[in-house]
Amino acid sequence: MPVIAVSNPKGGAGKSTTVLLLATYLAQSGASVCVLDADPNQPIMDWKENGESKTTLKVVGGIKESNLMEVLDEQNAQFVFIDLEGTASVLVSRSIAMADFVIIPVQASAVDVRQAGKAIRAVRDEEKVAQRSNPLRSIPYRVLMTRTPAPGAPVSSVQRQLEAELVEAKIPRFRTSLAERLAFKAIFVERLTLAELGEHKVGNLGAAYENLHDLVDELIETLRELDRKRYPNEQ
């Protein structure tokens, strides 16, 4: 535990940002973390290779349908994230099938949500396939709202409708959202981790860090809870 796939067939939903923020935070916390960059644009590989971050995060690029399983089997980090391309592909569905947990980032837009629906249905169907050979296998997932207004700012009616629909459809989601923050964009511009941005005075860095703290706390809590459900006798 755990391989975490981050997927939404819609591009620009915040997949790479989510992966980079979570992975670098966990690495900074002392965990061994690896990112498999399965996006053809290789945004995280570019971040790592062309930046000067001192993070211990390991990034493996060039992930394809044909080498996904092999590359995944070579990893022995505590956390492996798979940053997936913004399209519906076999690479995405195979990554979902092999994941322990799937994060589905969604912006409050109709297109994003409909595309996220594809990912949710794929997760559910892949879970059924996996259960044919292992009835205990599950592929838990959570929707993550991204680029939401900062706390205190007005929330759009689209976002409110989306949140209501998620509740009605009983789709699990993170309580924490990733707000629209300059600092979250700046990590790609400066090719640094959020913690390393200190000197660059980008937006409200403290608030951005607090937001990320909350998301990581919730992720860890969720993973621990899932583990307890999976192996109840071990706790």
């Binding site: 044909s66 956390f79 076999v90 995405v92 594809k118």
Partner: protein
């Protein structure tokens, strides 16, 4: 700003992970259980998850066979029919993922690109 007396919080400390985060209980990732790629690909195909990688058929191995299932049938030289109507060229620059989606769509439906555009327009009633 000076911090001779250690009263000013170090910005790096402010942006450090919370000390309560203990990740030691997370064991390293284990080797994945083998999965049936044919079934995995077949389950995802109805939701539009198809191969976006162009692998020449000559190097398709067993490992690729599952993706070959989801991949559109091998392309073949299409017969070009002379059209009586006047025609114009349309050159479109697209980002790669959308280009791949469009080409995959045309291949899946065995359409030329102009036929694929026509079908998409017809389907949305334009």
């Amino acid at each position: 700003m000076s911090n001779k007396f250690g009263l000013v919080d170090d910005p790096e400390d402010q942006n450090s992970p919370r000390p309560s985060l203990d990740l030691s209980s997370f064991a390293p990732v284990k080797k994945r259980a083998p999965i049936d790629l044919v079934e995995v690909d077949a389950a995802a195909a109805p939701h539009g998850f198809v191969s976006r990688e162009s692998v020449p058929s000559s190097i398709v191995t067993d490992a690729h066979s599952a993706s070959a299932v989801a991949r559109p049938a091998a392309t073949h030289a299409r017969r070009r029919l002379a059209r009586a109507e006047p025609s114009r060229s349309l050159a479109v620059r697209m980002v790669v993922p959308e280009y791949d989606r469009f080409v995959a769509y045309a291949d899946r439906h065995q359409l030329t690109y102009h036929e694929a555009i026509k079908k998409l327009l017809d389907d949305v009633g334009e």
